[in-house]
Amino acid sequence: MTRSGFVIANLLRKRTRTILTLLSVIMAFLLFGLLQSVNHIFNAGADFVGATRLMVQARVSFTSPLPVSMLPKLEAVPGVARVAYSQWFGGVWQENTPLFVFAIDPLRYRDAYPEYVMSEAQWQAFAHTRTAMIAGRRLADQYGWKIGQKIPISSNIWPQKNGSKAWAFDLVGIYDGKDEDWKKRTNVAFINHDYFDEANQFGMKGAANFFILKLSDANRAEAVSRAVDAMFENSPDETKTQTEKDFNLGFVKQVGDIGLIVRWILFAVFFTLLLVVGNTMAQSVRERVPELAVLKTLGFTDGSVLGFVLAEAAALCLFGGLMGLLLATTFGAMVEKGTGGQFALRLDISVWLIGIAAIVLMSLAVGLLPGLRARRLRIVDALAGR
């Protein structure tokens, strides 16, 4: 027998209680892992985007379209090298699979986003075919789309002029990302803005949800941003101009402050866990007062007895915590595979490190009070049941 064997034997004293406590630790850390990766997904989207692009949207909301006629004025702002625009189309593939589809001006978009890699011939085909569509590599791979195919997509927002919700586009190109981060963003399809403009029932002519300003110098972002917003101040189309990173974060925050929501949920989960495991440890020490006194009688020091209690708490939290994080990793990988990589629920190293720090803190929080009580036990009082 070893000291660790003794700790494990004590943990298994009341198996049902230990298993239930362990399950609560596992569940808490599973939730922690998944929520942290969700939070990471929502925030990470903005981490790698270039600082050389500004996004211009209507000041009220990006759902209010801006007229494409603003284009020459935007192009004239000093520091702006190229202007692209984009209109949300949405779209549903087959029965009910929602897609990310935007209507764009192909060549302007190509110039604004050199991170999207596609042959020039395909860009030209996209620009010169009114019913053309290009798809990202991940999207094309997910649905087995091939260049030359007719892709039927329905839209609940934009019916055609004849009232039909069914649209059909010619797939003329498949773009890829220049690196791993951009490859992850190849789950979007683009259609020709001119065609969309003509064919949609609502006659929403010459409008776009946002403009993308490609800057000649990233250091001028703030000046350009101020200049654009000042130019359209007090006009019917007041603008809000921000960096691409801020735009992405702001987009996410339309849903809510995911980070704050995640923090509050985790606070509630860990607070409950603290009570559950803390109570288990306290009860376990209360039940064993005479045994702890016997340990001291045999020559174990006060510090050793404190160590035994802390080790039990640590074993419980460590095993449960690591199991929870492992399950979250496995579950995340399954979700990523199941969604064809669209929802990359990955536990990266930072989540693991925070998780391990939480395990250590949790072990101390639940083990320290009962451990100190065990440490303070006076042998003669404990043996006498006082």
Binding site: F6, A9, V294, T297, L298, D302
Partner: protein
């Protein structure tokens, strides 16, 4: 049996219960030679267990000196006292106080975790201790699978395994029937006579005291007499 194993000099012990102070031992002086087997008797509240706890280093006197095996244990810190207990004294309690989660051999091995012995050596010592108490065949059994007498034998093996010179036993037969009690007391007698252990037991039972070499009577915190 001439050399002193235990020397108690003018020891008083005062307990504080809230604002009340209770003096349990009043300037008690006592010598127990090495190899002796002493029974402490007396009515409840006479201070027997308090004296035993002081001799075993489980508690400290309020005043006076206690020397056990040449060490002034009343001057040791809590940590030093724990270390001293691990190497110099074995304890046997009325209710055995075994660890229910450990087997008999696990319980006996527990004090050896405080030594530098290898796992193999520990196992060997445990086997010898269980053999001495006649429980070699019950090594793998948990306390709940043993009778009261067998549990007390395991407790004695645990007290013996680190080879202390002094055994202190608080009512070791108080929870046992007559026959089993006699077996346990016979075992203590063997340990005293054949292995040279100095043994101090606290008991209410005159028959149990009869197994000792001598009996000391306490009353109201003072030693009354010495009976051969």
């Amino acid at each position: 049996m001439s050399e002193s194993m235990v020397q108690v000099r003018s020891v008083t012990k005062v307990y504080e219960r809230g604002k009340q102070k209770i003096e349990v031992l009043h300037g008690l002086t006592l010598d127990i030679p090495r190899g002796d087997f002493v029974a402490l008797m007396g009515p409840s509240g006479s201070g027997k267990t308090t004296l035993l706890n002081l001799i075993g280093g489980l508690d400290k006197p309020s005043s006076g000196e206690i020397v056990v095996g040449g060490s002034r244990i009343d001057q040791l810190s809590s940590g030093q006292l724990a270390h001293w207990r691990a190497h110099n004294v074995g304890f046997v309690f009325q209710f055995y106080n075994l660890m229910p989660v450990l087997s008999a051999e696990g319980n006996v091995e527990l004090p050896l975790l405080l030594t530098r012995l290898s796992a193999a050596q520990r196992r060997k010592n445990v086997a010898v201790a269980l053999q001495v108490v006649g429980l070699a065949d019950r090594a793998k059994h948990k306390p709940r699978e043993l009778s009261g007498g067998q549990e007390q034998r395991v407790a004695i093996a645990r007290a013996l395994v680190s080879d202390p010179q002094l055994l202190v036993c608080d009512e070791p037969t108080g929870d046992l029937d007559r026959k089993t009690a006699d077996e346990i007391l016979g075992l203590l007698q063997v340990l005293n006579r054949e292995h040279g252990k100095t043994i101090v037991i606290v008991t209410h039972d005159p028959k149990a005291a009869g197994f000792a070499r001598r009996t000391l009577h306490l009353d109201k915190g003072q030693l009354l007499e010495q009976a051969a």
